[in-house]
């Protein structure tokens, strides 16, 4: 694909508010060309739309017009002087001239000033990444004029400023900087971190990361500044190392559920391909040109020497690994699995699919299990994160997915964030949410910790509701109670759109749900809760965004339904700015669930007990799918220990690190006869494996990912598979070797099979995705371009169902021995078990997991920051370093699980969601004691 940058129209489009019937159009004439634009559009943008690019240095359409570079001057009939086209709005009938002698003279004069303080030997000007030389040509300066200016009119002011190479991914060379403020504005407007400023004044003005180097500053390394820089002052280090790219591939990030679109700019062909830089795409519906430190920079793991590129085998898990051919490995897997089935029955084996893999890869894995294995023992890592979302939203709305697109939040007036930490875990959405807060939307944050959304530079939640871990349902019931008993419910919506209304209203009005009653349980002051409920009901548009702090509880599914109730009783469903929105943890957790990787559901969330659905697949695959659901992941472990489950295929999930109660998982794995791990790296799980099949990184994959807003995005290979085979191919070959032939010409054919068998994907094809960029399911036919917002006129299930959500306390309680509650989460620079991010320079920001503890709890135990502490639960114990933090409430401690040495899941219990067995990671009673003091105090 192209190396030409995406078109930049200079200034952003005029945004219309919700309910606006569009912005009034005006017509202007630019250099004789008439152009119609919405009122308020800049002259610069109108000119660009007419095909005329006015020279500019400080303007870009991702940032508000600034008017500082003075290169974009134009003449306007009847207007005095030569206004800057970026800051001049179009009025009807304006006649603009962009190329008169007067403006050309002025531009050349301005350009001379820039050139006089720009290094004559600027390497960026020479290789094209710095715009200054190009701009000089554009304003009509001959090379000789440029040389004359550079020979020293004024002399370099910034020429001797020293480079800042502290950030691992980009370098800042102030000598090349023209102080246009694009980086400063990108950091503020796009990312919302405000880590950059202009330091000093006049000739001494310089871009500064706040008086320290970039690494020590508030910078979160999202790279928006690098992208915004028109010169080579801010440049990716990979660009400096490798030089310019030779080709590009548009693809989708493989980290979190935001699913950002990127252009991978690469050099070389085949196995020798190097990634020069990852450039977020403005055309990407999910990210609109933004990215975070992981997606833009942390892709080096794909070429890490730890990558296992050859299949490995061994007879016993204590033996050393032996490299083998693909043929031997596949033969061993197929014959081993068949032998186990012969000895122990068809249900003795199963598979686990991965939310990190493409839809097509997941589809073939569940097909292999259902058609070749002949059982429904297929589960997915979504079991341990968002399975309650699937269940809860399915029960209430009829669709196991979030209701909105990300853009919807730009129309929200009130945003309730529950158990999610978007600025760390979903950074690109976090930036969007922060921007909406700066624009005036009210933030209500329900979280035990004082996360960044509660208060950080230029962001402030109206209310922080510090809900005690494990009491979410009591909290959401109290919200609904206030709304119902204070007469704030949307009765018309309930009457028209919902069912089981009376029973629910009677239930929720009970005194036990009042904020005064639940205050003892949740620790949220009743007055705050009442204020939050009233604010939420007032809207006019109120949206709920949530994460694993909702789902990973014994009442995870109940809480999802409680939030659905809250949205329904306030009528906050079915239009922009509202809705119930899970922030999906993994890039393709939505897609992997869609593809039928739960043991009870065929693709499209259709229960295996439905004969008419089974028949579709029975006929197509030529098999008979059992009507009973298969084993869930925790059942697999239990059955393994009981001796009935003997063989497991695991794709892209390190269950021995990520699943709860590590000891139990390890014992189960150890008891099996054949464990097959299909992954990028040898990991904790592969310690118990007999066969290791090397997998492919997203840079090698061809297929689709589906993000949290149900957006199906294309993943395109920037390089061929480093291991010789694609993952879907390996799966097909295993099935074939087991006697069930499976083959596809390619991933497009797999998606065609999904579309042919699944109504919600009926209109999806690679061809259409390539043409449209992306589509949000449901896409019921080839006419539809997708469904950004769901349940607009009616719920998918007909009427929205209000489910009674009784609060049942978790059995995991604090006691004298285990007086603290442990909860877990993610940090910005790292991702889940860290298999990828630990193998990148992101470790400079998070070299190890730490235990955050409130100062009072720390003092009581004689703990200082930096001490090694023992973290013990009823299940197990581990050691890590303490960090005293007043972000924590008293009685609650917090850690991440990015590093295997931490063993955070050694302490987590086997409690799980009653409906889906999603583990209760977020609540573990623990004790913390000093193991090793950091030093003299």
């Amino acid at each position: 694909m192209t190396l030409a940058p995406e078109r930049d129209l200079g200034t952003p489009a005029v945004r219309s508010g919700p309910g606006d019937s569009g912005v009034t159009p005006v017509t202007v004439t630019v250099d004789g060309i008439p152009v119609s634009v919405p009122q308020g559009t800049s002259v610069m943008r109108a000119a660009a739309l007419a095909g005329i690019d006015i020279p500019r240095a400080c303007a870009t359409d991702s940032l508000a017009a600034f008017g500082s570079c003075r290169l974009c001057l134009v003449e306007i009939d009847g207007a005095r002087g030569t206004p800057a086209s970026c800051t001049t709005p179009c009025a009807d009938g304006l006649v603009v001239r962009t190329d008169t002698e007067q403006v050309q003279d002025l531009r050349r004069g301005v350009m001379e000033l820039y050139l006089s303080d720009h290094p004559a030997d600027c390497p960026g000007c020479l290789d094209g990444r710095c715009d200054i030389a190009r701009l000089a040509r554009e304003v009509g300066m001959a090379a000789a004029d440029v040389d004359t200016v550079r020979a020293g009119l004024i002399g370099l002011t910034h020429g001797d400023a020293s480079r800042d190479d502290s950030n691992p991914y980009f370098s800042f060379d102030p000598a090349a900087c023209i102080v246009c403020s694009r980086c400063v504005r990108a950091c503020a407007e796009v990312q919302g971190t405000f880590a950059l400023t202009i330091q000093g004044r006049g000739f001494d003005s310089a871009v500064s990361s706040g008086g320290t180097d970039f690494l020590a500053s508030e910078c979160v390394s999202c790279g928006a500044c690098v992208q915004a820089c028109p010169t080579s002052a801010l440049t990716e280090k990979t660009r400096l190392t490798f030089g310019p790219p030779t080709r590009s591939v548009d693809t989708t990030c493989a980290y979190c559920g935001v699913g950002c679109s990127f252009r991978a700019e690469v050099q070389g062909e085949g196995a020798a391909t190097e990634v020069v830089r990852m450039l977020p795409l403005r055309a990407g519906g999910a990210n609109e040109g933004h990215s975070c430190v992981k997606g833009r920079f942390a892709v080096g793991y794909a070429a890490h020497p730890d990558r296992q590129l050859q299949p490995l085998m061994r007879d016993h898990i204590d033996d050393p690994w032996q490299p083998v051919s693909w043929e031997s490995a596949i033969e061993r897997v197929a014959s081993g699995f068949r032998a186990l089935q012969q000895e122990h029955g068809p249900g003795a084996i199963g598979g686990i699919s991965s939310s990190r893999c493409t839809n097509e890869e997941v589809y073939v894995v569940q097909k292999m299990v259902r058609a070749a294995f002949g059982n429904n023992n297929i589960d997915t890592c979504a079991r341990v994160c968002h399975s309650p979302t699937g269940y809860g939203l399915g029960q209430t709305f009829g669709t196991s997915a979030g209701t909105q697109d990300f853009e919807s939040v730009d129309h929200a007036d009130v945003v309730l964030v529950i158990g999610a930490n978007p600025t760390d875990a979903h950074p690109v959405f976090g930036s969007r949410l922060k921007r909406r807060n700066r624009e005036g939307a009210t933030l209500l944050v329900a979280d035990p910790r004082r996360i960044d959304l509660v208060r950080s530079p230029h962001v402030e939640a109206t209310l922080h509701l510090p809900v005690r871990p494990g009491t979410n349902v009591a909290f959401v019931n109290a919200m609904a109670h206030v709304i119902v008993t204070e007469g704030l419910a949307d009765r018309a919506f309930l009457a028209e759109r919902c069912e089981d209304v009376t029973a629910y209203l009677d239930f929720i009005a009970r005194q036990e749900h009042s904020p005064e009653a639940t205050e003892q349980i949740t620790t949220i002051p009743a007055a705050d809760l009442r204020a939050a409920a009233r604010r939420f009901a007032a809207g006019p548009n109120s949206a709920i965004y949530y994460g694993l702090g909702v789902t990973e509880h014994s009442q995870g599914s109940t809480m999802v339904m409680g939030m659905a109730n809250l949205a329904m009783i306030t009528g906050m469903i079915g239009r922009p700015g509202v809705g119930v929105n899970p922030l999906r943890g993994q890039n393709n957790v939505q897609g992997s669930c869609d593809m039928g990787s739960f043991p009870h559901e065929l693709p499209g969330y259709r229960h295996v007990s439905r004969p008419e659905v089974r028949e579709i697949y029975d006929r197509l695959w030529g098999v008979t799918i059992p009507p009973e659901p298969g084993l869930r992941i925790p059942n697999m472990f239990d059955a393994a220990l009981a001796g009935t489950f003997r063989g497991l295929y695991v794709q892209g999930e390190d269950i021995a690190q990520s699943d709860p109660n590590t000891r139990h998982v390890e014992a189960a794995l150890r008891s099996m006869d054949l464990v097959v791990v299909h992954d990028l790296f040898l990991n904790e799980t592969s310690r118990f494996a007999h066969v290791f099949l090397p997998g492919t990184s997203f840079l090698e994959k061809d297929g689709t990912f589906t993000n949290a807003e149900r957006r199906i995005n294309r993943v395109r290979p920037a390089m061929p598979s480093k291991v010789g085979k694609d993952e879907w191919q390996v799966v097909c070959e295993i099935a074939t070797a087991m006697g069930y032939p499976m083959s596809y010409a390619g991933p497009a054919e797999i998606m065609a099979e999904v579309a042919a068998t699944t109504p919600t994907f009926a209109g999806v094809s690679f061809e259409r995705l390539d043409a449209l960029g992306s589509m949000q399911w449901p896409v019921y036919d080839a006419e539809s371009t997708g469904t950004p917002i769901m349940h607009v006129d009616g719920f998918v299930r007909g009427r929205g169902r209000l489910v009674l959500t009784e609060y049942v306390p978790t059995t995991e309680r604090t006691s004298r021995r285990y007086p603290l509650l442990l909860t877990t989460g993610r940090i910005l620079s790292q991702y889940n078990v860290g298999a990828q991010t630990r193998r990148t320079a992101n470790t400079v920001w998070h070299p190890e997991d730490v235990l955050e503890i409130h100062p009072a709890d720390a003092e009581l135990r004689g703990i200082a920051s930096g001490d090694t502490v023992e973290l013990a639960s009823r299940v197990g114990a581990t050691h890590l370093r303490a960090l005293i933090s007043d972000r924590m409430p008293v009685g609650v401690v917090y850690t991440t699980f990015h590093h295997p040495v931490t063993g955070a899941n050694v302490v987590t219990t086997e409690n799980s969601d009653w409906a889906t067995q999603c583990p209760e990671y977020k609540v573990t009673a623990v004790q913390v004691t000093v193991a090793n003091a950091a030093g003299p105090r």
Partner: protein, 154 residues
Amino acid sequence: MGARHEGLAPEREATVRALAARYAVQRTSLLPMLHDVQEHFGFIARQDVVTLADVLNLSIADVHGVVSFYTYFRTSPPLPHQISVCRGEACQAVGAEDLFAATRTAYRESADTEVSEVFCLGNCALGPSGTADGRLLGRLTVDRLTALIPPGRS
């Protein structure tokens, strides 16, 4: 990432917070707060930038940008004696450039005196003007300055 969690000298932080507490929590309060901090401590330390950023919920870079914009704000402790010489146009017309150069030369060896420039003290009719330890002086000469603040005591 994590720039906010550095340890601060607690007493100084408490004083800065107390000084800041006299103003409304809004961005426009930053300048008067900075003036008060400089008046109290003689300079604005890095940790005061961090504290005021937190008080006003601004970024550290925001506050740093403001502090660095104004030459009046200083970020290191002042020496005991302060001399400033006006270099505004009116004073220039009556010899301020030579006076400034001569003053810098006179105090070059002094370890306890800082010489700085200022642009207009509003005392144009009596130029060249300057200040010595905060006291406004007209018809200024190097001799008058050295009489008030003897140089060369390094």
